[in-house]
Symmetry: C2
Subunit: 314 residues, 2 copies
C-alpha cells in the first residue's frame, strides 16, 4: 500500500508538496486515517502566524492577499493561502476564479495555495479549515493566510481560528453598517480600507475609528488600527503587514496568544466529538432499533427529546 499515513506525513515534513496536497485532501474527505495523521503531525505545529482575511465580495481581498504574499516572500517567509468559500454547500466549489491572479506565485515552492469548499454532511467547513491550518503549520509555513468571502455565521466560525483578523472594506455606502450588522467589529483586529483612492475613503476610515473606540480599554487592550490601501497599486501594503506584525507582537506580550491557542484546540476537540456524534447517529438511524425509535417519533408516540435519550451519545 502506498500513501500510508506515516510515509505521507514524513514526506510532507520533508517538504514534499504532493504529500501535503494529499494530506489536505484526506482532511477534506474526512479520511479514516485522520486521527493517525493528526497524531503524527501535531507535535510539529505551533509556529505559524495564522492571519484571517475577510470582507464583502469585491473588496479586493484576493489582490490584497497577493500583495501581502509578495511582501512576506521578499522577507524570506514561506506563505500558505487557504481560500475558504462556504457559500457553495452543494457543489463543493470554492473561490477558484480569483486564484488565477495568484499565478505569479505558482512557480514559487515556498507559496502554497489551496481552496476549500463544503463537502459532506459530517464535519463542518471550519473543522476542516482548522485541520488544514494544523497541517500547513506542521509543514513549516511561516504565515498562513485564511481568506473567506462574505460575512455569514460559517465565515465567522472560520475566522475565529485565526490569530489576527484583517477585515477588508471598500468606500461604498452602507459598508460600515454591514460591518456592524455582521458582527465583524467584534472579531476584527485590523481594518484595511481598500480602493482608498475613492472619494468616500476618509469618511469610512473615520467611521471605523469612531466605532472601534467602543471596545473596552484595559492595559492590554488593542487599539484596532485602520489602514488605507490600494492593493492594485501596492499602496499601504507594507503598512498593513506592519500592523499585522504589531498585532502578533501584542498577542505574545498580552498572553492572548496562549488563550487563542487553547481556544483553537478546544474547538478542534469539540469538532472531533461533534463529527463522531454525527457519524454515530447516522449509523444508529440505520439499525433496526434506531428505525423503530424514528417510527415512534413520526407517529408522535414519543417526542424528539425522549428519542434523543434513546440514542447513545457517541
Amino acid at each position: 500500500m502506498k500513501s500510508q499515513p506515516k510515509e505521507l506525513v514524513k514526506q510532507m515534513l520533508a517538504g514534499h508538496r504532493l504529500s501535503l496536497a494529499r494530506l489536505i485532501s484526506k482532511v477534506e474527505n474526512r479520511d479514516k486515517d485522520l486521527a493517525e495523521i493528526m497524531k503524527l503531525l501535531f507535535p510539529h505545529t505551533g509556529h505559524a502566524e495564522v492571519v484571517g482575511i475577510t470582507g464583502p465580495p469585491g473588496a479586493g481581498k484576493s489582490t490584497l492577499v497577493d500583495r501581502l504574499t509578495a511582501l512576506y516572500r521578499a522577507k524570506g517567509k514561506r506563505v500558505a493561502i487557504v481560500a475558504v468559500d462556504p457559500s457553495s454547500p452543494f457543489t463543493g466549489g470554492a473561490i477558484l476564479g480569483d486564484r488565477i491572479r495568484m499565478q505569479q506565485h505558482s512557480g514559487d515552492r515556498d507559496v502554497y495555495i489551496r481552496s476549500l469548499g463544503t463537502r459532506g454532511k459530517h464535519g463542518g467547513l471550519s473543522h476542516a479549515t482548522k485541520e488544514v491550518v494544523l497541517i500547513l503549520d506542521a509543514a513549516k509555513f511561516d504565515v498562513i493566510l485564511v481568506e473567506t468571502a462574505g460575512v455569514g455565521q460559517t465565515e465567522l466560525d472560520i475566522l475565529r481560528l485565526a490569530q489576527t483578523v484583517v477585515v477588508v472594506l471598500v468606500p461604498e455606502s452602507g459598508d460600515s453598517i454591514q460591518v456592524m450588522k455582521a458582527g465583524l467589529m467584534e472579531i476584527a483586529d485590523v481594518f484595511a480600507v481598500n480602493k482608498s483612492d475613492r472619494p468616500e475613503a476618509d469618511k469610512l476610515v473615520k467611521e471605523l475609528i469612531t466605532n472601534s473606540g467602543l471596545s473596552d480599554h484595559d492595559e492590554h487592550s488593542w487599539m484596532m488600527p485602520v489602514q488605507k490601501t490600494e492593493a492594485t497599486r501596492d499602496v499601504g501594503i507594507t503598512e498593513l503587514s506592519g500592523l499585522i506584525a504589531d498585532h502578533q507582537a501584542y498577542l505574545t506580550r498580552s498572553g492572548k496568544r496562549e488563550v487563542k491557542k487553547v481556544e483553537f484546540l478546544k474547538n478542534e476537540v469539540a469538532d472531533i466529538l461533534s463529527e463522531r456524534l454525527s457519524l454515530s447517529l447516522a449509523h444508529q438511524f440505520e439499525t433496526s432499533s434506531g428505525k423503530e425509535v424514528v417510527q415512534k417519533l413520526s407517529r408522535l408516540e414519543i417526542d424528539p427529546y425522549e428519542a434523543a435519550d434513546l440514542f447513545s451519545g457517541i
Copy 2:
C-alpha cells in the same frame, strides 16, 4: 411559581398569545424546561404547512410574505411568520425593520410574527427555528412562513426544515448565477421572479426554466415552476400561492411529505444531542481533569484526537 411549563403549554394550546411568545423565548434562551415543554407540545403537532421563503436582500421577500399572508387570511387560514436572520451572530438582532411593513396584520389575532436571531453558543439557529416551528404547529397555525435573508450555509440549513421552499429573485444581472453558486437550485421548489415589470424579467424566467430542466425526471418528479410576481402591486400572488398548494399536494401524493417529516425529526434529534454534547464539553473543560487534558494538548503532549478520546461523549 408562575409560568410552569404545563400551565404555559395549556394556555398556548388554548390560544393565549403571551404564552406562545414566552414559549418561543424559552426556545431562544435554551431554557432548562425545554424537554418538558416539547414533550407536552409534540403530540399536538403535524398539521401546519411549513413554507420557506428566501432570496437575496432587496428581492422583496417581506412584501411577498405580506401579500401571501393577506391571501391566506382571506381564506380563513391562520398564519405564523418566522423571520430568521443568521447574519447577526453577536447582537442577537433580527430583521426587524422589514417587519414594520407587516403592521397591517398587527391587530389580527390569527397572524403571529416573530423574528429570530442568533443567540448563545449552544444550539444553533436552525435548531431553534425547528422548535419554534413545532410550537407554532402545536398552536394550530395553518401556514408557517419561514423567511430567511441571504444564501449562506446556515440559511440553507434552516430552509431544509420547510416542506416547500420558495426562492424569490429579481431581474438583475448575475442573480441566476448567484442561485447556482449558492446551491439554491437544489432546494427550491418554486421560483418567484419578483419586480417582474423590470425589462430583464423574461430573460431570468427563461434561465430558471432552462436550468431547472436539469433535475431528474421520474414519475413522481416535481417540475419546478417559475412565477412572475409584482408583490407591491399584488400581481401574481394568487398564482404563487396556487403553486405552493400544488407542491403541498405533490408532497402528499408522492409520499415525500412523510420523508420530509422523518428528516425534520431526525435532524431535531441530532440537534438535541449536539447541544447536549456542546454543554457537556463546556462543563468538562472546566473540571480539573478536563483542564489537565487541555494543558497537555496545549503543550503538544497529546493531539486533539487523543484529547477527544479522553472526554466522554455526552
